[in-house]
Symmetry: C2
Subunit: 236 residues, 2 copies
């Protein structure tokens, strides 16, 4: 694994070794201390190089668990009707959804404003996280209208919400409002995605309307920054 070349720094060496498959065999990199030995460097220097590669989306870490090689980005088209699992399957990826909790709770003020309702209004709050090819990439907080979906907790919320909306309520998406912001992941989203507090992420806020223009739900999506590329086809 010793591919050090005097001309360029540790980071370039690491990149080459990663690209050549010399660094990660199963997707997981050796521990930092092990890499320090391998490359005869210090942890500070090594971590700085790893951090740069993380920004580039080459590698990522799970909080206090280790470093891993990143797979290709998922192409995410938020305007597309089809659900997460179908979208992943179309790209030859395996998607998994895991329900964290589903209960009635007041929406935060920012959400209420977007959903045009009084502060403190109660919604069904559904929290889920999603994997692509086994990797945790997305934490979502859904706020569903209790009026539109009175008994939605009865259904299997590990499934696609879109599917449940359509099958059980005859509701399909109409127009939508999006907001895409690069942020630092903190608190619950960071914990659920198993990333360090303050890791780079992408927040996608989404307000969905049904065919009649009614606001039916709001999603707060927290993505690992290196997991997606957003594509939008806009006709006008």
């Amino acid at each position: 694994m010793e591919t050090d070349r005097a001309e360029d720094g540790l980071e370039q060496t690491l990149r080459r070794d990663l690209a050549a498959g010399r660094l990660a065999t199963t997707g997981r990199l050796p521990s930092e201390r092990r890499m320090v030995e391998i490359y005869s460097t210090t942890r500070i220097t090594l971590r700085e190089a790893l951090l740069h590669m993380e920004i580039d989306g080459l590698i990522f870490r799970e909080n206090r668990r280790g470093w891993y090689a990143t797979g290709p980005r998922m192409v995410y088209n938020p305007l597309q009707r089809s659900n997460f699992h179908v979208m992943a399957a179309d790209q030859g990826r395996r998607a998994e959804t895991e329900l964290i909790e589903a209960l009635s709770a007041p929406a935060p003020a920012t959400v209420c404003r977007l959903m045009e309702c009084p502060d403190g209004t109660e919604f069904w709050r559904v929290r889920r996280r999603r994997r692509i090819d086994g990797r945790l990439v997305l934490f979502v907080e859904h706020y569903l209208s209790k009026a539109v979906f009175p008994d939605i907790l009865e259904f299997d919320l590990n499934r696609s919400l879109t599917g449940i909306y359509l099958e059980h309520y005859g509701i399909d998406y109409g127009s939508a409002y999006f907001e895409i912001t690069p942020i630092a992941l903190r608190g619950l989203p960071a914990a659920e995605l198993r990333c360090a507090d303050g890791a780079y992420g992408l927040k996608i806020t989404r307000i969905n309307h049904d065919q009649r223009g009614r606001i039916i739900d709001c999603d707060l999506e927290y993505w690992r920054h290196d997991a997606i590329s957003v594509r939008i086809e806009a006709t006008d």
Copy 2:
């Protein structure tokens, strides 16, 4: 400026001091070495804290020039007809555009694929950078169809391209295709934006069609990650 509290770390202290205006008076923070003195810490520790705050979008750096406090994010609606300056003005911000170069050049293969033309096709390549309230936030590379805009180099390219399209060619935007990807800024975009190589950024690729569906140009936009929030209103 000594607001150190034993209970929590340097980073929290810095955040408090920044929020209270104790850290930056004119937008610029003291030099790293000065802050090391002020907070009785080491550069490694200080830089780690600053890097975290940078991810959060609280501060940013200009390569080898220093650290600065960030202004509010600009809301960017890529579907909106209006140009950059109007958009900024609507939000009470001052926008500036600076032409870097404008010449004929073959488009890179990735762009040719998106523009549905053979590899190596020549376009007008216009490079510009833009400031909001004086801060460099965007580097754009435009590839304009030479067939559609035969003599566009005659015009003042510090102005809005949209304006020139409309006034001189009677061309207005029709549908568009977007791609939004978090990336690391490197090479020319990084240099022009005066950020360190490998800084976190947002790349927005955009293919524009005119009202008749012709592909008229392609923009490669490189944004500083903390400068914008993308909003999209999608009716269907």
